[in-house]
């Protein structure tokens, strides 16, 4: 498509919601368009990669792939979590191929260069010849693991692959302020409080669906008895995040009426209020008086996404029965969304689909996400055109 027509398409997405169209099919189906979009919205900003609970203890590590890059989550002996490129500085060999605890050092399986848990290169056997483990031209201080810029918030590990985004706290200052009251220490519920949904869809469709409450009465009919459409409100922060809130959050109760402990010091709003925000680009957050969740969307392929769901609580060591009941309840809700995000992905193969129209009344949060993606892609194109 000629460049002027490409701009027209993105302008249409960024138009006021009454006139706007959604992102065109190519953003869900075309590898070239998606590669450009990945750079604009995932690599240049703060993308969610994992959660701290993936490496819960000192010396734990976990290899991951993100946008095809091999990365390593590594917690050092003091508990500091870092993200590195999962390669040896010698021949680029993959260092760690499965989650494990690093007892002493990471040894490259190829020529046995060894790295400390903070990324320092600590040994280079035979690098100066047999039995000579140093060489004047090999400065270990400059050959540590390549660290990827990272930031942790609410246990979500964010990475900035390009390395030049504004600080996380600056970009997301609005949400940090909005949720200051609920920004308390969170405790992962453990093995049963994490699950992954493998979904045949582009990751953006999971964001788009999560943002809006419009679909709730149709896709989640179980909510209708106590959480009606009119009990919800839009959360709209252009260029930052969007989502939905409810005024009628109802606490889960165990067989004996027990509930989860509340986060401390919350105002009355949170007695029955709850908020669900898509923090751009790829993490879906939920906060309630007694628990929270984070869904990290892993973009596996243009039509494949892993939704990593993690449930968090105000205190550790909570009754396992109630934890499991809550996890099952959320699993059911999130599984109800699978057919729509997969159906929309399949629908993107229809050449007649023009990105779709938004309900000016109901789709505001979803349109904001589309407009944000379009803005980022347009900015990248303008930057490259100027070169």
């Amino acid at each position: 498509m000629p460049k002027d027509q490409q701009r027209d398409v993105l302008d249409a997405v960024r138009a006021p919601i009454e006139m706007a169209r959604g992102l065109p099919n190519a953003h869900y189906t075309d590898p070239e368009t998606i590669a450009e979009e990945n750079e604009a919205v995932l690599a240049r900003g703060w993308a969610a990669l994992a959660v701290g609970a993936d490496v819960p203890e000192p010396s734990d590590c976990k290899p991951l792939e993100f946008l095809g890059q091999p990365l390593l989550l590594l917690r050092d002996k003091d508990g500091t979590l870092r993200v590195f490129q999962n390669i040896c500085r010698h021949r680029g060999m993959i260092l760690v191929d499965a989650p494990r605890k690093i007892e002493g050092a990471i040894r490259c399986p190829y020529h046995s260069w060894c790295y400390a848990k903070d990324g320092r290169l600590v040994s280079t056997p035979h690098v100066g010849g047999p039995g000579l483990n140093s060489h004047p031209q090999m400065d270990r201080a400059t050959l540590g693991l390549i660290e990827v810029r990272s930031h942790i918030w609410r246990d979500v590990v964010f990475v900035n692959l390009s390395g030049d985004a504004a600080p996380f706290e600056d970009i997301h200052a609005d949400l940090l302020t909005r949720w200051k009251e609920v920004d308390k220490p969170v405790y992962h519920g453990g093995l049963e409080s994490r699950f992954t949904l493998e979904v045949d869809t582009n990751w953006k469709l999971a964001v788009e669906n999560y943002c809006e409450s419009y679909h709730l009465p149709w896709v989640h009919p179980g909510l209708n008895s106590y959480s009606r459409l009119e009990d919800h409100y839009h959360i709209e922060e252009p260029g930052k995040y969007s989502g939905q809130g409810t005024y009628v959050y109802r606490q889960l109760k165990g067989d004996d009426g027990q509930v989860f402990p509340d986060f401390e010091g919350l105002s009355d709003f949170w007695d029955e209020g709850a908020e669900y925000v898509a923090l751009y680009p790829n993490v879906l957050l939920g906060v309630q008086r007694d628990h929270a969740f984070a869904i990290v969307l892993e973009p596996v392929a243009h039509d494949k996404t892993r939704e990593h769901v993690h449930l968090y609580y105000a205190k550790p060591d909570i009754d396992a029965g109630l934890l499991n009941k809550n996890a099952e309840q959320w699993k059911e809700v999130f599984a109800e969304d699978v057919f729509v995000v997969e159906g929309m992905q399949r629908g993107r193969a229809a050449p007649g689909f023009d990105g779709g129209r938004f309900s000016p009344a109901m789709d505001g949060p979803t349109h904001l996400f589309h407009a944000w993606v379009a803005e980022k892609v347009a900015a990248l194109r303008a930057e490259k055109d100027a070169l």
């Binding site: 002493g104 990471i106 046995s112 040994s123 047999p130 000579l132 483990n133 140093s134």
Partner: protein, 73 residues
């Protein structure tokens, strides 16, 4: 290297027995007649000890420094 030590080393590698590898490479170093060989085998003992985080790693490193095989901290 003595053939029985060689066999024990191969068995330790096959079993991925790290404590045995550390001990056997140390033994190989001590049994070697040349400095090159002593450094070579002790380097292997050190690397496996370093990877495993065992308490003997610092002493092995110090020995390698003494032999001129490793730079001091």
């Amino acid at each position: 290297m003595r053939s029985d030590l060689d066999a024990r080393l191969l068995a330790a590698h096959a079993a991925d027995d790290r404590p045995a590898l550390i001990a056997l490479y140390r033994e190989a170093s001590e049994a070697s007649e040349t400095m090159v060989a002593r450094r070579f085998y002790l380097t292997h003992a050190y690397i496996y000890a370093l990877e495993a985080g065992t308490t003997e790693a610092p002493a092995l490193r110090a020995a390698l420094v003494e032999m001129g095989a490793e730079t001091p901290d």
